[in-house]
């Protein structure tokens, strides 16, 4: 972690992500408006009372951006956690036990992976109803296979290593070996994937909003704001720029962070010239 702070680009990313998280958490303190409050005329330009202007029905865009941060970050985080949880368990079980169970789980995940992810997320959202929790589930579900694959891969390489054998001979049970021995040793690729999936989750949420199945209005998310803003691009470019910048910078930083994590955690990558 310290190494990350020394690298200027990851330091920038970390600080940006911290800043945006802080803004989102402190939203009620930062703005006099509610996120759904019609505070002025629609589509006003930037002013002191409305830092980024107002949106299509006259709500303060700054207020909505910071509140949308809560939603988008929360959806990103929780959906990634969901994917991580299910992916890791499936991957551990299928890699560890192998055989028919492995075949069944792997093929099921292949099937899931073969779906166009946005269609799967869309269908799940439509079935469960569009709200923030279902968005987390739908987006999480889409990302399960990738975590499962990574975990399964690590399990396979590690299963026959000495320390696994050793703990087995010492009488450790399957669960103990899987979660206590193998999992801690395969954390680094998972961590890298975590930041990448987080980033793509923010984008999938934006895509769902575009298709009308994202987070429900008047609750703002960056994706839904960006989607609304695109109709006003020629009249009120600031609206789009602000919403776009929020998505863009966050996803960018998460991706960069993923890259740095990979460089620092992957032992081979440390052998720089």
């Amino acid at each position: 972690m310290k190494k990350l702070w020394k690298d200027p680009s990851s330091a920038f990313c970390l600080s940006f992500l911290l800043l945006i998280t802080l803004l989102a958490l402190l939203a009620p303190l930062l703005t006099p408006y509610r996120y759904d409050q019609i505070a002025a005329d629609p589509l006003l330009g930037a002013s002191w009372s409305h830092l980024f202007g107002t949106d299509e029905i006259g709500r303060d865009i700054f207020t909505r951006i910071v509140y949308a941060g809560q939603v988008s970050l929360l959806v990103g985080l929780c959906s990634t956690l969901i994917a991580l949880l299910f992916g890791v368990v499936l991957g551990l079980v299928s890699g560890y036990y192998g055989g028919a169970l492995d075949a069944l789980i792997s093929r099921f995940l292949d099937g899931l992976l073969a779906f166009p992810s946005i269609i799967l997320a869309l269908a799940v959202m439509a079935v469960l109803g569009p709200n923030i929790y279902n968005a987390m589930l739908a987006i999480g579900l889409v990302s399960v296979p990738i975590f499962a694959r990574i975990t399964r891969g690590s399990v396979l390489t590690m299963k026959s290593r000495e320390f696994v054998e050793a703990s087995r001979s010492m009488g450790a049970g399957d669960g103990r070996i899987m979660f206590g021995v193998i999992l801690p040793n395969s954390l680094s690729p998972l961590l890298v994937q975590f930041s990448l999936t987080f980033a793509s989750a923010v984008l999938i949420e934006a895509g769902l909003s575009f298709l009308g199945l994202g987070v429900q209005p008047p609750t703002p998310s960056w994706g839904s704001m960006l989607n609304a803003a695109k109709s006003y691009l020629t009249i009120s470019p600031l609206y789009s720029i602000v919403a776009g910048a929020a998505v863009f910078l966050t996803v960018l930083c998460l991706n960069l962070l993923g890259d740095s994590l990979r460089d620092h955690l992957d032992p081979r990558m440390n052998k720089r010239r």
Binding site: P42, E56, I57, G129, Q216, P217, P218, S231, Y232, T234
Partner: protein, 506 residues
Amino acid sequence: MKRLGFVLLLFLMLVSLTACGGERAVEAGADAGGGTLRVALNSEPTTLNPYIWAALNDRNVFLQLYNSLMEYDPQTLKPVPGLIREAKASEDGLTYTFTLQEGVTFHNGKPMTADDVKASLAKAMTPEATRTAPLLKAIKEVKVDGDRQLTVLLNNRDSLLLDSLVEVFVTPNDPSIDHSKHPVGTGPFKLNAWVRNEKVVLEKNEAYWKQGLPKLSRLEFVPIPDAEVKTLQLLNGQVDFIDIAPITRLGEIEKSTDYQLARLGEESAIQDHLMLINNAKAPMNDRRFRKALDYALDREVIKKALFGNFVVRSGPLPDSHETANRDIPKTTMDKAKARELLKASGYKGEPVELLYHKIDSMYDIVAQIAEQSLKDIGVNVTLRGVEIAQFSQLVFTKKSYDLALTGIVPKPNPVDMLNHPFGKTNGASMQWQSKEWAANLLRVSQLPEAEGRELLKQLQSQLADQMPGIIVGGLIQTPAMSRAVSGFVPNPQSKLYFETVSVSKK
């Protein structure tokens, strides 16, 4: 690796080939004859069957393929001859004799006869034909009296029969024809090709019975789902006509010398944004609660956010309409009064859900403003936007909703303007417990004119008093087109007629 290089090279060539195009992309529409008009719709029709259809896009395409028995005069909105050339009613109003137009042939070359009209009326009266069956209830029997003569016997007087016949289209009496795929009508255009999601191509019906029409030789409908892209295509010369100009672009198009809007005056706006209320359920079953909602709505803000494409009104008829009851005070926003009414209704913050459909971003705006208006007076309301498929199921079949927002397109007669929101169609969803009101409304067309008008006014007062549902305001959607297009008449029901439209060559 070598092969990959070759493919890359090929692609490079392709890119350079495509990138060197300097001229504007307006090739479309450059063929002989009366010209081609390219019309952009937000989605393609789901069917071309004129009896069983659901979406306005279905109607706007099949309007070109078929003729209706009667038509509306675009100015007065009174029924005038369509395929029926002459209609005579008996003294008691129970017998109509119709004489059909001469020399009308179907696209398959067969002449249209009274027999085809009888069969078409029968199709329009089957229960699946939900658009027309309720309108034709008065018909007892249809008799064919020769090739061009029909007699229609009614169960009761129906002064709106001719209005209703505007909705009845004529197809050949031939059960082997499947109109959803291979439509055969008498209309100004015939179907040439329909490529899913790509285009519906219609070509001129050379044997059209209206002299000198249609003026176009070809008509193409292209589906473009994104409203912004649709506008860009118009502004880029790729299409000549868009069904709905996005509100954000109205100003730009109005000022432009290359494009024009087909705007309808506010007084002709008969379509409504309607808030359906499930008044079988508490707290919506209290009249004061419903009235509080009406007073809470900030209609002016909606108008502003929709760039003026909205008529501020609280009654189902335009204020200037001859049968509008002017004694009813107009609702202007009064939050204090709304809160008072809310309190009087005994409302204690029970959660209420406001359902709407996301068929157009306009509804997102109306719904969010309405939600804020209700929140302002202390209604514990949450918004729920769903697809149209789910909306119809929740509202119309299951009737499991609290409040629901939708747009409605009534026919341009006062009975339907009341009936559409509050009577049969949506009234059934509101479960308004007033059979008497609905029965009286149906009686209007059975009464002599003056009495009917009086009854209409009474019915309006009852509505204002009971508030079974709320007219949020008049709905306006404006088509836009290139200046090269002439002869298009905007229609209060948003019907698109293209038989008189022509497009000049650039």
